[in-house]
């Protein structure tokens, strides 16, 4: 298959005819061959951004979309050679599975025998060869999802755009297909833009994640960046559970009610911290390790322990009453009221 295209989104905003401002002008670079996930709550503009890139919507004046450097802003979707998987799949009910998959080749003028053969190959790749002659209404949700993906890939597009492709499916199937899509996108090395509101999906699939909020980009980074070094409170809260400690910065250390946390050199303090309680230290439940109070300068009191089998969730509070949540192996027996030390992984903390 061909190499994916690099995509540049340059100051693209979108205001709909009814005055809704779905996107503020934004810039985004998508690298050739990478899987970029657009993540954010419903209504934040993910679909709109995807549709701008696809060519289904035009950006407001001044915005430009480039594929491999070539300006495609004025090209309609049918001239952009992008594959698209719609949230509702948009499979043609008047065609069989194989004719759906072969449709892109049909409008490119390929003869019936040739296009059927090529479509059959794609169905095989997706392991749904047996469904070729079925009608669309005879397929399950998961099968439809695979057909939609096969149809989008059959024309060997430069870019594949997926709008919440798994949202309509139940949880177990979603996880299974997520793995399949991940393997497929990595193998094809095609540029993929994947829209989801599900943080687990985003973390599992993305080479990079774009977290969006209110029509703007809140953060762009690798899954690890976004998860462990969220740019702000919004990102921190949207991508999982976040603990926050308030304190001050002194001599490269963070001082809080529960003690001190040494900070790594590369951690950038927020601009202009001032006065006590001005800085907050953010970390995930898994970024903390429980230890004996003697082994660490950071000590909390156990409030509650929730046993979950392999792990346990432990709620702690500091002398000022602030609560945090950490995860620990289930072997250590903890009792509410006991003092417990905490060691934070310096690579997985951030300041805000």
């Amino acid at each position: 298959m061909n190499r994916g295209a690099a995509i540049t989104v340059a100051s693209c905003g979108k205001t709909f005819a009814d005055g809704t401002r779905a996107l503020s002008p934004l810039d985004l670079d998508v690298r050739a061959g990478e899987t970029l996930v657009l993540l954010g709550p419903s209504g934040c503009g993910k679909t709109t951004l995807l549709r701008l890139i696809a060519g289904l919507e035009a950006p407001d004046a001044g915005g430009h979309i480039r594929f491999d450097g070539a300006d495609v802003t004025a090209l309609p979707i049918e001239k952009r050679n992008v594959g698209m998987v719609f949230q509702s799949y948009a499979l043609f009910p008047n065609m069989s599975v194989i004719d759906n998959v072969a449709y892109g080749l049909r409008v490119r003028g390929m003869a019936q025998a040739a296009r059927r053969a090529q479509a059959a190959g794609v169905l095989e790749m997706m392991r749904i060869g047996a469904l070729a002659q079925r009608r669309i209404d005879q397929l399950s949700g998961g099968q439809r999802q695979r057909v939609a993906l096969a149809r989008a890939l059959a024309v060997e597009p430069r870019v594949i755009l997926l709008d919440e492709p798994l949202t309509a499916l139940d949880a177990a199937l979603r996880e299974h297909l997520r793995g399949e899509i991940d393997a497929l996108l990595k193998r094809l090395a095609i540029t993929a833009i994947y829209v989801t509101h599900d943080q687990a999906e985003a973390l599992a699939l993305g080479d990079r994640i774009v977290v969006m909020r209110n029509g703007a980009i809140a953060q762009v980074g690798t899954p690890r960046d976004v998860y462990f070094r969220p740019a702000d409170d919004f990102v921190a809260d949207f991508v999982g559970v976040t603990n926050r400690l308030t304190g001050t910065l002194k001599n490269g250390r963070f001082e809080t009610a529960a003690g001190v946390v040494p900070l790594p050199q590369d951690l950038v303090p927020p601009a202009a911290p001032s006065g006590p309680g001005a800085v907050r230290l953010l970390f995930r439940p898994e970024a903390a390790r429980l230890a004996s109070p003697a082994d660490t300068p950071l000590v909390f009191e156990v409030v509650q322990v929730e046993f979950q089998g392999a792990r346990q969730k432990v709620t702690l509070k500091d002398p000022a009453g602030a609560r945090i949540l950490v995860e620990a192996p289930a072997d250590g027996l903890l009792v509410p009221g006991a003092a417990v030390g905490l060691i934070l992984d310096p690579a997985r903390i951030s300041l805000a």
Binding site: A17, L56, I77, E78, V82, M84, F92
Partner: protein
């Protein structure tokens, strides 16, 4: 709850009486078309003579009615399907406005519509004298039905997303129309077509105003025969009319049911 037997008997009686009230005149009329002399009753004997006479006298009218119905169908298909598609693509205030405007001919009496047509185009003699004049009236009257039927099915299959899917695969607007829009709107198009043909063949108000002695359709001919022929001939005419329109109505009923079933 199980209905009381007496209640049921009562309901049945009322229903049968109501049916009889409607059916008896129809039956009498049909019978009249076969009787030798209606005033002497069935005892005068049964005959196919009147039917034959109707066919001989009014075959032109029957042919013209069918031609106008098919012509109306052709025009409403040609205008209605692309128009419904265009409206379904961008649902907006404009769409709602067009829907309203296009419903007007249903709401205003056929007579008023006919009068408007005569005022506007009656002066063009060739047009006024040709069957195209009636055809124009029928198109105005039936187009809303075609539009609504097609728009309903396009909305039900979410044709906009289907079209976007086709476009993402490289299909041009024309390819999308013929490969995706029309096949998926087939149910609505067929239902609309049956409706248009039925309405066109049965339309009287408007047609009566628009017709000339040389351009008469079935219902106008029926009125004509009641006014100027023996009752037996008029009755036989009714029969011919029935034979043409009832299959259409039945098809419309059956088809409406399957389309609804498919949409569910």
């Amino acid at each position: 709850m199980k209905p009381h037997r007496l209640t049921f008997a009562f309901q049945l009686t009322v229903t049968l009486l109501a049916c009889a009230f409607l059916m008896v005149p129809a039956g009498a009329s049909i019978l009249a078309g076969f009787t030798v002399n209606y005033f002497r009753g069935v005892s005068s004997g049964l005959t196919l003579k009147w039917i034959g006479e109707v066919l001989a006298l009014y075959s032109d009218t029957i042919a013209l009615s069918i031609a106008i119905a098919l012509g109306t169908l052709g025009v409403t298909l040609l205008i209605g399907v692309p128009a419904a598609w265009a409206l379904a693509r961008r649902p907006s205030r404009l769409t709602r406005l067009v829907e309203e405007v296009v419903t007007l001919p249903v709401a205003i009496p056929g007579l008023a519509l006919a009068l408007a047509l005569i005022l506007a185009y009656g002066g063009i003699r060739e047009f006024r004298m040709s069957p195209l004049f009636i055809l124009t009236g029928h198109v105005l009257y039936t187009l809303p039905f075609m539009l609504r039927a097609v728009m309903a099915v396009l909305a039900a299959v979410d044709v906009r997303t289907l079209e976007e899917g086709a476009a993402s695969l490289g299909a041009s607007p024309l390819q999308r129309f013929f490969h995706v829009v029309v096949p998926n709107a087939r149910g609505g198009i067929l239902a609309g077509a049956l409706m248009v043909v039925t309405l066109s063949i049965g339309e009287f108000n408007l047609t009566w105003m628009l017709h000339t002695p040389l351009t008469k359709t079935l219902p106008v001919g029926l009125a004509d025969s009641y006014a100027s022929m023996r009752l037996e001939i008029a009755s036989a005419y009714t029969l011919v009319f029935f034979v043409m329109i009832v299959p259409l109505l039945v098809a419309l009923q059956l088809f409406g049911r399957t389309v609804q079933g498919a949409a569910r």
